[in-house]
Amino acid sequence: MSTVSRTTTTELTADGRPLGALYSGNIRAVISRGLLATKSTNWLVMVSGFFEPVLYLLSMGIGLGALVGSVAGPDGRPLSYAAYIAPALLATSAMNGAVYDSTWNVFFKMNFAKLYQGMLYTSLGPLDVALGEIFLALLRGLLYATGFTAVMALMGLITSPWGLLMIPASVFIAFGFASFGMGITSFMKTFQQMDWINFVMLPMFLFSATFYPLTVYPEPIQWVIQVMPLWHGVELLRELSVGVFSLATLGHIGYYLVMVMLGPVLTTGRLRRLFLR
């Protein structure tokens, strides 16, 4: 565009692009910066993120699984305990990665590394930065999901070709969480407030039918769990892993569709609060 040639004009005319105050259409620059930085410094962190769900799967699935034996799968047929919890661990890892990247990571780069401060003094708008960071988070999520699904396959935990769809489904789940996460971060000012995020995430991980079926709870508690997003992700991936679907499957997909549509609206509305104080 006109930025390359040095002009002596001192007068600009607004180009009238939609969202011109927030967006310059240059998400690519944010993404390539992220990849370059990852290549030179962060790759070890990435490896550790891959191992976390694998370690859970090995300890709980094999260790605890020896005591539990088999449990009833989505269609009622018996399933090994490891095969039962593996999709849930994948959904949780998609959630954790997306939330971490869109909350703690954004908070740190905003307030401490001052990375966004530098970016936002260029032609980039806050929406370029937000979308670029979400894309990077999803790319990372895609790598993790692929790796974890490969581990599941190696352990013989995938019994249906539908299981491969867990990979895009994880990215879909991650997108739902990431698009909300940044909006939520815009309300946070201190580290103490950031801790509330963990306060929500940990119980959600433990109680969303991750390690045992929802039916162990009394009905009112079941309702609470079913309102939470992670449960829908767990159920969706669990159904995909065995290739058994019902009307509920559509409900789970619908839940994330709504998240994916509402999240960016919230985040875009809060971008000024997040980046332009």
Binding site: M1, T3, V4, R6, T7, T8, T9, T10, E11, L12, T13, A14, D15, G20, A21, L22, Y23, S24, N26, R28, A29, V30, S32, R33, L36, A37, S40, T41, N42, A113, K114, L115, Q117, G118, M119, L120, Y121, T122, S123, L124, G125, D128, R272, F275, L276, R277
Partner: protein, 317 residues
């Protein structure tokens, strides 16, 4: 020259701020300030820490939203057209915010990519800027390994990657040793000669005198005075200043006995200042009254004196 331009051709202003105000809750950081900057001028905001200089800079860059007032940069509102306005700005923030995860040269390239500039332009540009900042040998170093002065030069080099029409410099030499400062000043002079509009905040009066065609003195978010450094000194101070030290215990009592010498006196904790057009003559009068300071010094008035006159306080607390 710049005054003529500003009178005859108002559309030549690259920055126009009118009644600009920024409040954070009850605190008013910038309080109803107005100024215009014509293209090619080197314009300074001089004031102590907390005067509202950085906030003003952030509003110009469109990364802080004003509470009220109008602001146009090259005819556009940076709040409405942030990305488009910033394509023509270079920004050197008060604290270096280099990308620590990237190497020195990559910092320049990646920053250029944020402006949407192509690699065919950026590769030679990065080398040119490294030479300009005297960092060619450090191209592959980690940012962390650079000295403070080098980081500052890299930040300035980075701000030039898009050939900005307007360069915003927030306290560009704070924390640098004298030699590093002079190298920086030299680089800024060259940019000024090349026609770049410089907007500079500083609390160093020598920096303001060296670099600014025109400046505003700001304190507590308000503009106290406006003019060229020489004009401000003429208007608010005398030609010379006689600095006397009588020892911190006696300065205040002696000050009373100095009344009537020079145009006026100013008593600071560590010294007494006598403002006079002829410093030597004032010194003679002091001796005639039988007063013998421990040290005495005659110097030319500076912007520091202007600030002291306007606010009753020193620039650096």
């Amino acid at each position: 020259m710049s005054q003529n331009v500003s009178l005859n051709a108002p559309h030549k202003f690259v920055i126009s701020a009118h009644n600009l105000t920024k409040k954070y809750g009850d605190f008013t950081a910038v309080d109803d300030i107005s100024f215009d900057v014509p293209a090619g001028e080197s314009f300074g905001l001089l004031g102590p820490n907390g005067a509202g200089k950085s906030t003003t800079m952030r509003m110009i860059g469109g990364v802080s939203q004003r509470t009220s007032g109008t602001l146009t940069i090259m005819g556009l509102d940076p709040e409405q057209n942030g990305p488009q306005v910033r394509a023509h700005l270079g920004v050197v923030p008060q604290q270096d915010n280099l990308d620590e995860e990237l190497r020195v040269r990559d910092n320049l390239i990646v920053y250029g990519r944020y402006f949407g500039l192509p690699m065919s332009y950026l590769n030679p540009k990065a080398d040119e800027l490294l030479a300009f900042a005297q960092l060619t040998e450090k191209a592959k170093s980690k940012v962390d390994d650079l000295s403070g002065g080098m980081k500052r030069r890299l930040t300035i080099a980075r701000s030039l990657v898009n050939d900005p029409t307007i360069l915003l410099l927030d306290e560009p030499t704070t924390g640098l040793d004298p030699q590093a400062r002079h190298i920086l000043w030299d680089r800024l002079f060259r940019l000024k000669e090349a026609g770049t509009t410089l907007i500079l905040t500083t609390h160093y009066m020598d920096e303001a005198e060296q670099l600014c065609d025109r400046l505003v003195v700001v304190d507590k978010g308000r503009i106290m005075a406006e003019g060229s450094p020489a004009a401000l000194i003429r208007q608010y101070s005398t030609r010379e200043v006689l600095e006397l030290r009588f020892g911190s215990a006696r300065n205040t009592t002696v000050a009373a006995e100095l009344q009537g010498i020079g145009e006026r006196t100013e008593t600071l904790p560590d010294r007494v200042l006598i403002y006079a057009h002829d410093g030597e003559a004032a010194m003679d009068s002091v001796s005639q009254r039988g007063l013998h300071p421990i040290t005495s010094l005659i110097r030319r008035s500076s912007l520091e004196d202007v600030f002291l006159r306007l606010t009753g306080r020193s620039l650096i607390d």
